[in-house]
Symmetry: D3
Subunit: 242 residues, 6 copies
């Protein structure tokens, strides 16, 4: 089984970190591929709706490219960016399962407890997180959305105050909002998960791990993307090159 993770930003370091997490969670029968766009061919970070629009196109391009590639289609895809950019487009472009990391983390959270909180990077992205909560049906379960107001790329810096700020928000969600679990709102937080679980005493859920778990489960049970109508392959028009 081959699972393809797509990080739509251009950070190779973050992509590598994501791949490490994915490989830890994946069973021994699962090969993990993790890609990101070349510098200049995608946003450096996804921190706005404008970045998100670009990221969605990057995701569609990378899935289309993988499907047409030498190795043949992957068995499943993970969109490793918390806004789940390009999710609908990706589902049109493959018959395999496609899962975004926000979607994955929220699903797993509702299987672990009644309520969850999201702790993410920038407050300007909370609107997008809220939209995703509604889309996936989890408005009743999501009791808080917090932003640490730290830039995405600062998470890479182990010595930064960003990590402590995130830990405090996780604790606050559990204590003040009654969150049964905490969802980490950025692929770049994947390596914080174990420590935060210990510190808060509740499951802290990383979307990368969750998505790999869900996608590989779906491959095992032979359930891909329904190709009926909405997610059927998109019409190709003569001479058009996306």
């Amino acid at each position: 089984m081959r699972i393809h993770l797509i990080n739509p930003n251009t950070s190779r370091a973050m992509t590598d970190k994501i791949a490490v997490t994915a490989r830890e969670v994946a069973g021994p029968d699962v090969a993990v591929v993790a890609t990101c766009p070349e510098p200049g061919a995608g946003p450096a970070a996804v921190e706005s709706h404008t970045d998100e629009a670009w990221a969605a196109l990057v995701v569609a391009q990378q899935v289309a490219c993988a499907e047409a590639g030498d190795g043949g289609p992957a068995d499943g895809y993970v969109i490793a960016c918390f806004g789940d950019p390009g999710l609908d487009a990706a589902r049109e472009l493959t018959a395999g399962p496609v899962i975004g990391i926000a979607e994955a983390a929220m699903h797993v959270a509702t299987l672990s407890g009644r309520t969850f909180a999201v702790v993410t990077t920038l407050s300007r992205t909370l609107g997008r997180a809220h939209d995703l909560v509604r889309r996936y049906g989890f408005e009743d379960a999501c009791v808080a959305l917090y932003a640490a107001d730290v830039p995405v790329l600062e998470l890479e810096d182990a010595g930064s105050a960003a990590r402590e700020r995130i830990a405090e928000l996780c604790e606050r969600a559990v204590r003040d909002d009654g969150a049964d679990t905490v969802v980490l709102g950025c692929a770049g937080m994947t390596d914080l998960c174990a420590d935060l679980t210990k510190r808060t005493g509740v499951p802290v859920i990383d979307g990368v791990a969750a998505a790999v778990g869900l996608v590989s489960g779906m491959v095992h049970m032979n359930v891909g993307t329904s190709k009926r109508d909405e997610y059927a392959p998109p019409p190709r028009r003569p001479g058009e090159r996306r």
Copy 2:
């Protein structure tokens, strides 16, 4: 990894069939245990709210018993009955993940397409199915609930008209209701899944397979049931024996 499936009705044949499906989906590192109550110690089938009340207690008893048993707690539990009876109680009684098959099938359905339909056995159980759809947050995704009006145990009979009736309802859901996927509303339908997928052309989702996939995924990513408050171990009172 050991996953424990609990069928709360007393049908040994159905329990065995469930175990077969579970083992097919589970990875090679997963041991599957499937139990049901002794005849007389649980409902013969779960076809009413009254049966459901009994089934819920059976599930709680079997989880408590497994947790205290010689082999030690299972790594995760599956409630193999479409009403997900006793789900909340079971979550109190273990630190591992617990997933009902209705819950599992609906979650997977929403990862495979935008909309799903449920095809179940008796119309009198549609109210319960509707309650579960709302509980899990999938009112927007669930476009139809159908009952074949066949008794649960008749599904065991390969020659019965029950199976054809179910197939017709699956086709109708896809054609008339625009369902992207179909969720099978009974653990006893687990062996129909592959054929119905072929016949309808869309993913037909069996809760047993889905639950095994999700529970084993959660064990891999080290996420169990949140033990904060609501799902903490229930108070024991002196001299009380449930």
Copy 3:
């Protein structure tokens, strides 16, 4: 007219207190019967989902028993436990009306004002209260759910701090959350109702009184439980004894 109150826990003292309230509210043409399970035949208190599962079965058994009893079916039933355990099962087992005390109190609250709060015993039961609010359609009306974090049986002790704690939460709900009324979240609080109404200046609603009022009203207007499909008598299987 005969109304049968079922307390699914084994406290005879609480059952007697409930009967007193019921008789005060019931008209002179109404006979009140109040029963509870024998010690050991039901939970000592309902303080967890596990207790609730047992309580639901107790309720079903007591209704079935009453219906088959010498005196003939009661004209209506009240489930005197705030989680409304076994409500759906009980509705299958009788043609008369069946009302849970949470259901009754919430309905009456919405007839008295726009908003209500619930003040209950243990925080671990707030999830169940939340589920009932959603089930009955009152998410928009319910502005707060508070737990006094006092064990159910301590309410019996007039000298305990439990009662003051409850009064403070009622006041807070009115003052800070704008609750027009307060719903008491435990059958054992039935005798606090009049005092709390005086103290808060708003209607404080006890589910026992509310349920007796609603059930006797329904008997007067000749409306019982609809026996169409879902709540028709449950299938009996040969040799099965619940």
Copy 4:
């Protein structure tokens, strides 16, 4: 106990019919008063939003008048018109309970079964019925809204085709929409209730009976309208006469 029914249209015959129903349901300790505006002092029938606006003012005037009257305030009020006109205003003007017949019928319906349908007179009033369903929280329970397209006052004519048309819609709601109960959408249908219950085999609920049952129940349990803020007596301005 004295309960005051207000029919906001000027039909004395309908008012008398309403009083008959109310007296049948009320206990022997309950005196029923039923009033309507003089001809010209209110709408002849309530068949549009414009009629409804007038009816609301009539209700407010009649409650204010009753509260200030020689006999003193009634113990509770019923607004005997299916649009529940003036409900909020009436609640400001008395400390007793006030219930509209749509509100009452819908509440009782949800205590009798999972689902209900409304069968009313004119299709142009279905929007208002829909608004009330949402206001009271019963969107999930209400499975159909039908209009017989018969004028309100034609119901008074026993020989009219109106009654058969209404009966057919009740049957259709049960058969095709799975309604557990049917709510009659006009005070003028109060005398059809018993026959329709027999014919459909499910509880058919008349709002007049339901409201009398609920209001007298609330008086018995000593719960009136919460006078906190929104429903406190409205400000009177010098020299103003409504």
Copy 5:
């Protein structure tokens, strides 16, 4: 194009102020008419549901009168009172567009940002504001409802503390509730709008301006009120005079 603004209270001063705002926003091709009832023929202010009932009838009467008047129907109507009294009735009585100022302000708010808050006069009217938010579909967008607890007519007094209190609540909504915009909850606040926009740094939206903008836009695009069924002209009954 002629737009008719109806202030249902009897304050001539407030009506004049509203007309000033309306004329500032309206294009040069738009004539603005603003009317209010004679003293004694409507409420002095709309500060309760009882006032609202009267106001609704006033609105219906003024629209009916304008439609039948010498100048012929206006091209569109604005109900210049934040409770949008009589909106449905008015839509029955004209073929032109009719918009309430609460409705208009909330629509424009959701076009300007994701979230809005309402700042209104009296806390007892917040229930009505909440109902309107739900009716128009903006529950997800409305993040706070505040009342300054100042009487409507005090807003006319430039030296009063009322204006400062309102400004503080606008600032609080932006700072603490994350409101992207603020909706002013009273026609009498129309002249505060520009200052508050400057002070808060976000769009502060006055319903009078918003309604004039929307109504004139609808006249330009030739869209009036749909006269299908619900909003068709109401039935007139012989001899009836509203």
Copy 6:
């Protein structure tokens, strides 16, 4: 006042048609600019989520370009594609109002009647239409979503059967679904609007006209996009070029 319409597909003919409609609705004080991407620089039509992803980026690019252009920022922007692609991104990139044509048409529909239907081109885009209905808060108002199953570009062909098919669906929505108005689900239908209004007897609403009306109204009332947090200008990163 200058309003900039962005058609994100490359059809110059459609763009010209849109500009004609816009100019008809706009007041004499409004200059209309309509642009579309060069052939190859955007999708030829927007008929899938994959097209939509590309369209969103096109919209963001065109707004950014216009804002930085010689003529200075437009006073307001219209996204002339029924999926409202890039709406959030565009709002980040300008201080003026930005409105999508689906958004505009739905808002105007709810000001004209209680209910509306959408008639669009391809069934595979109904999911997106459904998402927009939810996003804008109009789930209660939207009673039907129909697809004519005609390709977007075929609408340009006056002799095609596409137009008749669309007319029939509009009639069906009014007759069978009780739609008070019909929203046209494609910018390319803008020239059908007047005829369909005549044929159906209810307002048929074209999003292009609606959006121009709303945007110019907002410019008149001086309300742009709230620049607080979410829609503040997006972070620019050194060396990045979108």
